[in-house]
Subunit: 186 residues, 2 copies
DNA sequence: AGTCGGTATGTGAGCATTTACTTGCAAGCG
DNA sequence: CGCTTGCAAGTAAATGCTCACATACCGACT
């Protein structure tokens, strides 16, 4: 079988476990059962490999949020959609999702600011809902952060092994109620 | 002036910016205006330096939570106390706080499981409140994660430069209301 | 007060090792 | 054949850390 997908999987696992800087090309190659040189047939550098994987996760999550939230109306439903988007991303590829979650700050410099990242998307939804008086007023940046925090911290604790092996979606009802509560609270 | 505190400050800044693995002893020494060797007069290794700083932040935050939450009664007040504890830690030394926040997962292996970390403390408070029927039932591990997420994600976004330069405590009222809402939501 | 000696602190050149990455070669394949 | 994919061995640079040496500090003893 071709080495490229094996390398991607291996890299994902190693990056998630050790961080981008802590991961070595040797480890990735060994885990993929491939020589180190094989990596460089497909990527220019270790960082390019890492960025590619990260951006894939980033795009997937953003797309899911846009799709789910765009398909429904009203803040309550949009909150549920947000939780659903995160849970779908987490359930369909937990390694990719947790890599994105835990290594986010490593890639901040590479962020293109096109407003299509999860935080900005949620911020926009909240701003709009405030305009329509569906939400009480308040700094949308903070409200967005708090709402997302409900989900991401739960996911983080799962990644840390504090929540057992259940899928993230197992906690979706609880998270949905909490996100809705955060949005309305003031 | 003695080099040790200068090294601690420099290391904190470099670790927070580049991560533990991404930080080099050369960079730390340069920033502290000290030779590399000086570091090793006070610490056995780069990792020991990092762990020491991390544990200081960890202990400070845990102590604040225990003190603030222990001084009041009722979940509402304890929620406010939790927010206050985080804000105090963040305001009194933002560099130390953000280092702890962003590099947490690097130090998970070193965690001693004495129940005195922030998450477990909050979990215990929640369990007790549920027993006393002050809170609706639900997985305390998840509820604790969600409540803490409200605060930590806000802090993270501040660290990412998305919230301006205001102190974290500037958002305390909003966060307090949100945490209380999360606790009661179901 | 002065000076001796031991210890703590800081230097900077340098060490062994590890790191990301390259290169020459060969096999697979349409 | 021509092109892609993979390997094994290598390279130059960087990294964490050490060590011989220099200086500052500080109490004890005359």
């Amino acid at each position: 079988m071709s080495a490229k997908p094996r390398i991607e999987r291996a890299a994902l696992e190693v990056f998630a476990a050790h961080g981008v800087d802590g991961a070595t090309t040797k480890l990735i190659a060994a885990r993929a059962e491939v020589s180190e040189g094989a990596i460089y047939r497909h990527w220019k550098s270790k960082d390019e490999l890492a960025i590619g994987l990260f951006m894939a996760a980033h795009k997937r999550l953003s797309d899911l949020i846009e799709a789910e939230a765009g398909a429904v109306h009203g803040v309550e439903a949009k909150a549920a959609a947000l939780v659903k988007a995160y849970c779908t991303a987490a359930d369909e590829d937990w390694t990719l999702f947790s890599f994105h979650l835990l290594q986010l700050h490593h890639f901040l410099p590479y962020y293109q600011d096109d407003g299509r990242d999860p935080v900005t998307l949620v911020e926009t939804i909240i701003k709009y809902a405030m305009l329509k008086m569906e939400l009480p007023p308040g700094d949308p940046r903070v409200v967005a952060a708090m709402a997302i925090g409900v989900i991401t911290q739960t996911a983080q604790n799962r990644a840390y092994g504090r929540l057992g092996e259940d899928a993230l979606s197992a906690h979706a009802p609880l998270m949905t109620a909490a996100v809705q509560a955060v949005l309305m609270a003031r």
